[in-house]
């Protein structure tokens, strides 16, 4: 196909179809509407199904049914819509149903705004639904990566039988950038289908997909099984990008949209002779703690930059473990920071002696 100019939302939808997605259920909400709209046009042509649900709650439950019946299925929404899906997501995690859920984040709380933000980090990494569960959470920073991570999301979800979040935002979803589809289209996974609801045909005992276990010992066992899976994922799947970090004195940590902006200011700072670098989590959960295990020798402080009032900063502090101070710089409510203000903030820290 070569490089095509495409919105992040469109790239995710097309990549999903390449990733073998056959069923989409969703409810309109800005700034992600290009996703359902593209599916509405394209999925039927590919023999798949686009169905508009009456609400986000219905959408996530249709997704549950569809994926339980064996489809590669997904939904997408934006922040308040995700809030409504929490019960359903907890259920998907509990019953280990593979599927993909996109959050094109906007500012909050409440209705907030339709402009970009990253203030759903907690929602994307620490549930919001009830109980102990974790969702793999992938955070692209470019349109190209949005496409690639979408294809990967389906594979991960099937590999671990778990829902996967793709965490975009209004900026990444609405902007156009060159995209090239490099990953070959997926064919249906030959993987384990022994849990899929298909009718027993009189040839096997009936199957049940369920989360309720009234015997505490059984539910604890189930939880331990889930936790075992989560540790495997934590060990194997955390991912990050390291940008000019090797010799950094001041190390930024930022993801997604914020990270792209931070890169600009890392370059600016470097031009001014400041040793700045960036660690960009590409998985929000599992958070890439290994990236911080060995900090650059000269690293004097970490600066977490978010388009929120500070949520990932908890994880950065946990990663720092008290070894270096962690500073926070955030903009919120739909405001997108400029590289210059980040550089300025960093300069102040350096001049103030914090770095």
């Amino acid at each position: 196909m070569g490089r095509t100019l495409m919105k992040g939302n469109e790239a995710m939808a097309l990549a999903a179809i390449r990733g073998g997605c056959t069923h989409f259920f969703g409810y309109p909400i800005t700034p992600q509407n290009e996703i359902p709209e593209l599916f509405a046009r394209e999925l039927p042509k590919a023999g798949g199904l686009f169905l508009q649900a009456e609400s986000e709650i219905a959408a996530v439950n249709m997704l549950y049914g569809s994926a339980a019946a064996g489809a590669r299925a997904m939904t997408s929404s934006s922040s308040p819509g995700l809030a409504l899906m929490q019960e359903g997501i907890s259920m998907l995690a509990a019953t280990e149903i593979p599927c993909v859920i996109v959050n094109v984040m906007r500012g909050g709380p409440g209705l907030g705004t339709i402009q970009p933000a990253q203030s759903d980090y907690f929602q994307m990494t620490r549930g919001g639904g009830n109980g102990d569960y974790r969702i793999i959470s992938l955070a692209p920073a470019t349109v190209q990566e949005s496409a690639e991570m979408m294809q990967k999301a389906f594979d991960l979800s099937h590999k671990y039988r778990t829902p996967v979040f793709l965490v975009s935002d209004g900026m990444l979803g609405q902007m156009m950038e060159p995209v090239e589809f490099l990953i070959p289209p997926s064919t249906k996974p030959a993987g384990d289908q022994s849990w899929v609801l298909s009718g027993h045909q009189g040839r096997r005992p009936p199957r049940t997909i369920k989360s309720l276990r009234l015997d505490p010992a059984m539910l604890e066992n189930h939880n331990l099984k889930l936790q075992g899976k989560y540790s495997r994922i934590t060990r194997r799947e955390s991912q990050f990008e390291s940008y000019r970090a090797d010799d950094a004195e001041l190390l930024f940590c930022a993801f997604g949209s914020a990270a792209r902006i931070v890169k600009n200011s890392v370059d600016d700072l470097r031009q001014n002779g400041r040793r700045a670098g960036l660690i960009r989590p590409m998985t929000l959960w599992p958070f890439p703690f290994p990236a911080f295990r060995v900090l650059p020798e000269k690293c004097k402080s970490l600066v977490c930059v978010e388009m929120s009032c500070g949520q990932m900063v908890d994880d950065v502090r946990l990663a720092a473990g008290g070894r270096v101070p962690v500073h926070f710089y955030g903009r919120c409510g739909g405001v997108i920071p400029e590289p210059a203000e980040l550089s300025e903030y960093a300069e102040e820290l350096i001049v103030g002696g914090a770095v």
């Binding site: 549950y64 049914g65 339980a68 298909s198």
Partner: protein, 247 residues
């Protein structure tokens, strides 16, 4: 000598957890029998809802999925749209279907989903201990209506079948009762009809079964049957509320 009645293969060997005399068991049997008679046991996926019937996934001899409270029709939609060749049904209580799940049932009907809904109306929240449901009768006591349902406060009981029958996408809606063998025979016919329409891809069908909850009502099982007959049927008249033109 011939066996004229035996337990259907549509039910598993597991004993139910229902209270003595609870007609959920009768509803189960009827669904099991119909699925067996239509030869559908191997090709059916059932959606259990949250209520006393949550464990129905242990009792029906078909693949089953547990659905969050009220959401069974959405889950059923997802399943049916993925494997349209399978028979898909939901089994829902009145709290599940007529309260928290109102939007999902209305819109499954609205879209004309080819599914069959078994709606067990016992006019109370059984599972959680006898709270008032939207279907609780006027004056009927419940733990959250200690002096009886007061229409001034909570409105008159909701007639779901009448409401769903108004939705263009609903094909077949009938209300039957489980309080007496004669009525149980009719109930089975209605369930059969519901599944038959599904097999013919004729859209959304729902059978409302008036059912007892001796525990929640604080009545002995036999008294509960009588109470149903004397109190529920007058308010919830039995019969076909909507049916397709036969083809």
């Amino acid at each position: 000598m011939s066996v004229i009645f035996k337990k259907t293969a549509g039910l598993t060997e597991t004993d139910t957890h229902y209270c003595p005399g609870c007609t959920h068991g009768v509803a189960h049997r009827l669904v099991g029998e119909v699925l067996e008679e239509l030869g559908l046991l191997g090709d059916t996926i059932g959606c259990a809802s949250v209520g006393c019937s949550i464990f129905s996934y242990n009792y029906f001899n078909v693949d089953m999925i547990e659905c969050s409270h009220g959401r069974a029709p959405a889950v059923a939609t997802g399943i049916k749209r993925t494997v349209p060749g399978k028979t898909v049904f939901t089994y829902q209580g009145d709290g599940d279907l007529a309260a928290i799940g109102t939007a999902e049932i209305v819109h499954a009907a609205h879209r004309g989903e080819h599914i069959t809904v078994i709606f067990v109306n016992n006019a109370i929240y059984g599972m959680t201990g006898g709270q008032m449901a939207p279907t609780t009768l006027s004056g009927q006591k419940a733990t959250t209506a200690p002096t009886g349902r007061n229409a001034e406060l909570s409105g008159m009981p909701l007639k779901m079948s009448e409401m769903i029958a108004e939705v263009p996408g609903a094909t077949y809606v009938e209300r039957v009762s489980l309080h007496h063998p004669k009525y149980i025979r009719k109930a089975k016919k209605a369930i059969l009809r519901g599944f038959t329409y599904q097999l013919q891809n004729r859209g959304f069908s729902m059978v409302e079964l008036l059912s007892t909850c001796p525990t929640g009502w604080g009545l002995a099982p036999v008294a509960a049957l009588e109470w149903l007959g004397n109190n529920m049927i007058p308010y919830y008249p039995l019969g076909v509320l909507k049916a397709p033109e036969e083809v």
